[in-house]
Amino acid sequence: MRKPVSLAVTGIVSLGALSLAACGSSSPSSSGSPQAGTPITIGVSVSLTGDFSGDGKALVQGYDLWAQDENAKGGLLGHHVTMKYVDDASSTTQVVTNYQNLITQDKVALVFGPFSSLLTIPASTVTDRFGYAFPEPAGGGPSVFNRGIHSLFFVQPAPVEDNLVSFTQWVLSLPAAQRPATAAYSTEDDPFTQPQVDKARALLEAGGVRTVSYKVYPAETTDFTPLAQQVISANADVVILGTQEPDAVAFIKAFQQQHYNPKALVETAGPDQGSDFATKVGTANTEGVMVPAGWWSSAKTPFNATFVSEFIAKYGGTPGDIPSDAPEAYSVGEVVDQAAQKAHSIANSALIAALHSGTFQTVQGPMAFDSLGRPNGASFLVQWQNGLTVPVYPPSAAVAQPEYPKPAFSG
């Protein structure tokens, strides 16, 4: 007869424990604004290890520099800012755990985004569920925006799939006698790279540039020799590669080995990593390589010159050493600051509403967001010339003429 009693006691105790646990983990405040003048913590999941670790560290640099500047001028609407970073190891499952913990355990006031579309997609599902605004610097693939989330804001000038639009416009603007007739494409199957390449291919084909090779390869590929062989054997006038930095470097080295020199070469990422890229391929071999960019160190955008000098003072190096991730992260802080001033609040609901209206000034230039957080601007075409990246298209932003055809690799 004791068994039912003990079961009942166990049940009551369990229910009591659950109730206590529920009371203990009060839901975080996403709509309320912290008391004026109180310090706040902003939580970020960053990739300090794994595939995106290089980019993750650059994001931290950008975020830290913004927090330093923000606190120097009195804080975010009077709130002293502390950044809290947790490593997601470039993992799509860890990034979800991290944002859940930041919001429910650490009760951070705000959250900023991680690196890559791959991590932003699962992360934004969590932050949206808790009603947090999710300004993010690096998740701009189409799959980020097609889920109907209104709390996410991609803080770059253009959606990722439009990154190569400037390149295609430049190609199609060339006089008929110079215009390339054929193009070869090879891209990682990544939500950052493939949409860019696919859109460029559609635009160039519509403009009369024939596709002679198109290959998609798994992101975990380590041997790029056969991929480069296919591009080389197609012998196209222009080569368009959907790369991150390691494969961007590997392709260029394979082209050098095979003495292959296309008239134009554009890569979605890699050449935007400044001197790090130049060191890996050799500065002489960077000449003429193109990459889409929303930012470059000499851009005449608001506060950019100060950002560059502060970055060098804090982290060392030269303007060419600044990875594009850092100004992108810095811009996240800038748009949040302006939205907070506009809303007179740092409550997440107020920030979401404010970010959906008006234009925000950043080191990457002005930007505004549609109802799904897509930026409405355009990215630029940047080319390596004499050891530096310079904007070459569109003409309104260009400081140099595009080098075409591209000089041969030094071998």
Binding site: P218, T225, P226, D276, K280
Partner: protein, 291 residues
Amino acid sequence: MTLILEAVVFGILTGGVYALMASGLTLIFGVMRIINVGHGALVILGAYLSFALLRSANIDPFVSLVITMPAMFLIGVVLQVIFIRPLKDDREALSVLVTYAIALGIEGLLGYLFTNNFVQLNAWYETASFAVFGFHIAYVYLFGFGLCLAVLGAIFVLLYRTTFGSAVRATMLNRTAAQLVGVNVDRVSAIAFGIGVSTAAAGGVIFGMTNAFNPGSHYDLISRLLTIIVLGGLGSLRGAVIAAVAMLIIEDVTAVVISPVWASFAFFLLLVIVLVVRPQGLYGIRVRERI
């Protein structure tokens, strides 16, 4: 046709590098019956040691092997004595956990010392190439293949032409029986582990010259190396060499003829077929355990 020929040639050359890396792994399994899942991390450690010598003293990556291979041998012996030798019961299962912990430790240490940014070993022969059959082969692949032949040849001579090699092969065949006839199994195991780890240094140099790498690169690498030694037959050096070359040729040819997306699948298809026909792999020895 040139494209397929080129894929086959590069498959053989790159396969040699993987054979070199896998040879250490299969040797360690053969002698100690442990699965060293930290072998990929040791390859990356070898690449970083050469990277450090290149950056600090401008020592050519191939020349650096004169320093890194003995150093890695000593590291291997120390790891075996401290972490592997104490495992007496259920060695195969426990060794996976212990060597995984070693891999994580190496990854953490390398991340602390070198950051997690991708790096690559550079030398003039990395991009310099010569023409053959209508395409170009970079000297690094040729030198790398030569190094593979030299190291693998040395291991074969050691195993089949020396007294120590006889002791190693006796241990590989039957650990207990080897002990009974007077082989110092602990000593043989430590030296074999050291040799396996020093081959990782040689493999790491070529891997580091043909791939960008960071401390986390060992995860992809170990999965490929384990696949190679399973296909070749656990403990078989000859099997590891043939499986590595087969793997790279199949992947490279599939990538150029069909699609890079199907490259790994094509190899795994072969792996499954072989294991259905020969569960012990190409050159593995079928062991009947007493119940």
